[in-house]
């Protein structure tokens, strides 16, 4: 019957995974006998010649080294009884090392326990959050996103998008949209955003706003609208998606925990990298019903504050929902419902009556200019 190895020996000429050997503690030092050699060659390493430290993956192994150069040997001891025997027999000059080693083991164990309890804590917390508070966590994380990040993110998607579209640089349509934006944004208290609005030559009946204040209005929407007030209603709704940071909320929800962690750690590149993977989806993001209602109501109030006739917004929504027009893409991101229009009407009734200021442009001319500049639809 072979003796059972209780240590691994490393060094030149020995296997990289360690040579199994039998180690015993004696008064003068360690008796080391490599396995598989007969007759058994016993080697005695004096305490005076060795150095000691804690090692191994969990710092729970006693590492004993001796010798120089190619005859240097490193012994890994793991058996607790053997380690205890070593500590009892070792002279005082080694004790300091050993105690440090023992302290390292204790610390490793403690951090292990801490790890377990914190893992359980994190898991419990996570489950609780998923159950009750995922919206809270999202809001909490979104509130921590600096405006500059948001702008960087929105701008990159915006430029990406515009590079594939024909943008109207000037003309009545562009000035009309600029006038609407100007009138709306100057009524936003403490506005941290610089809104940029582009009109895209496209038959698509839609508009969208990207985080950071980048707004795109499609010419198709302006063609469908019967007045500037109607377009201003959509614009006001979109601006409020930005102001309420709805896009960011959706984004954080879609990206999940990694985004939250990145935001908390301030890892801008990481979060932007994650967000870029969503790419264009940001533009066609479907907002939640609560977010739509919020954008509707705050949008309506903003219109009223800006003295833009707010019923234009309601009329446009109603008119679009009546028509069964497959090309009205606004529906794909903004499902219309009678209830939605009703809620807006109720809200409008509750708002103080304002005398609206008309726009300086003639809507018919704006629409005619679109028909001239773009391809026939």
């Amino acid at each position: 019957m072979n003796p059972i190895p209780n240590a691994l020996c490393f060094g030149d000429g020995l296997p990289a995974s360690g040579a199994p050997c039998v180690v015993a503690v004696s008064v003068e030092g360690l008796r080391v006998s490599p396995m598989g050699e007969s007759p058994v060659v016993e080697h005695v390493v004096a305490f005076a010649d060795m150095s000691v430290e804690a090692g191994g993956l969990d710092h729970d192994q006693l590492v004993v080294s001796w010798g120089e150069g190619s005859s240097r040997r490193t012994l890994y001891l793991k058996d607790p009884a053997l380690i205890a025997a070593f500590r009892r027999a070792a002279p005082s000059q080694l004790t300091a090392h050993l105690e440090r080693a023992a302290e390292q083991v204790r610390r490793a164990r403690r951090s292990h326990r801490l790890l377990w309890s914190s893992a359980v804590g994190v898991l419990t917390g996570l489950v609780l959050f998923l159950w009750f508070g995922s919206d809270l966590i999202v809001e909490w994380a979104v509130a921590r996103i600096p405006i500059e990040w948001e702008q960087k993110l929105g701008e990159s998607v915006y430029q990406d998008f515009l590079s594939k579209e024909t943008i109207l640089k000037e003309g009545p349509a562009v000035s009309a949209v600029q006038e609407m934006t100007q009138r709306l944004t100057e009524k936003i208290p403490n506005n941290p955003y610089t809104f940029q609005v582009s009109v895209v030559q496209s038959p698509v009946v839609n508009a969208f706003a990207l985080p950071g204040g980048y707004v795109v209005v499609f010419a198709g929407l302006m063609n469908k609208a019967e007045s500037g007030e109607e377009v201003a209603g959509v614009l006001s709704h979109e601006l409020n998606h930005v102001l309420q940071r709805h896009g960011l909320e959706r984004m954080v929800k879609m990206l999940g925990l990694a985004a939250v962690v990145g935001i908390v750690l301030g890892d801008q590149q990481g979060v932007l990298g994650l967000a870029k993977q969503l790419g264009m989806e940001l533009a066609t993001l479907k907002f939640g019903r609560a977010q739509e209602t919020e954008a509707d109501l705050t949008g309506l109030r903003l219109l009223s504050d800006a003295r833009i006739a707010p019923d234009g917004m309601i009329r446009f929504f109603e008119r679009l929902s009546e028509k069964d027009d497959a090309r009205v893409e606004l529906f794909s991101t903004h499902p219309m419902s009678a209830a939605r229009a009703e809620r807006l009407k109720a809200e409008l009734a509750a708002l103080p009556k304002q005398t609206p200021n008309p726009f300086t442009f003639e809507w018919k001319q704006v629409q005619d200019s679109l028909a001239l500049s773009g391809p026939k639809q």
């Binding site: 490393f10 090692g55 969990d58 990694a258 994650l274």
Partner: protein, 227 residues
């Protein structure tokens, strides 16, 4: 127990000879064929609670079966799920291997397996999951890889850097840290690159020549997406 690798290379199998009443632990689903004297014991290592915690913590995948030659000596043929090499290691009671979950194929009766939690950062970022297997005891241990298996020998204090998704197993005398290779660890977490393990000897690190994650995404592009 005696093991023999059949068809070494990409599509190997292991033939395990068992004496009467001897057992082998095998990754569930790894059994291809067996003598009629072999029975599958559904008993989980570590009893009901052990099984429960293993199921919950280290994933369904690591539910290994115990195969017993209860009605006389016989043999079992085992094969891993993925194409790749198989390596046989001999455990002598002192050496211990940390094995990523999918790397375990089989172990002799005397082989002890426990799932071990990684340090939080190691586990979250390491790619090999929160839990790895700590395998010790005595007898033969059979590991499998995705692609070819490559052994890296490390002298005391010698360092080596490995992309974590290529890790199969390493000795417990080897320490390691997770390093990020590029800036922005969230980006690297999702792009699947840029996270590496810095190993420090002494000991041995086994790596696989293919990355299961990358292979998966490569395959995915050919699969039509149906809504």
């Amino acid at each position: 127990m005696k093991c023999e690798i059949l068809y070494p290379g990409a599509f190997p199998m292991v033939r395990v000879y068992l004496d009467a009443n001897e057992t082998v632990k095998a990754e569930s689903g790894a059994m291809v064929a067996a003598s009629p004297t072999i029975d599958i014991e559904s008993k989980m290592e570590g009893g009901f609670l052990g099984a429960l915690s293993r199921k919950m913590l280290s994933g369904e995948k690591f539910f290994f079966q115990t195969l017993r030659a209860s009605r006389g000596a016989g043999e079992v043929l085992l094969a891993p799920t993925v194409p790749g090499e198989i390596v046989l290691l001999e455990l002598d009671g002192v050496n211990e291997y940390m094995v990523q979950k999918d790397g375990f194929l089989a172990g002799a009766e005397g082989v002890k397996i426990e799932s071990k939690m990684q340090g939080l950062t190691r586990g979250l970022l390491g790619g090999e999951g929160f839990f790895i297997l700590k395998i010790g005891g005595t007898g033969q241990l059979v590991l499998n890889s995705f692609g070819a298996i490559h052994k890296i020998d490390l002298k005391p204090n010698e360092e080596y850097i490995v992309d974590n998704s290529h890790l199969v197993a390493w000795t417990s005398t080897t320490t390691y840290n997770i390093d990020k290779a590029s800036s922005g660890w969230i980006a690297s977490l999702t792009s699947g690159e840029g996270l590496v393990c810095r190993f420090r000897g002494p000991g041995v690190v086994y790596i696989q020549s293919r990355n299961p994650g990358s292979f998966g995404s490569w395959i995915r592009q050919f699969i039509p997406v149906s809504e």
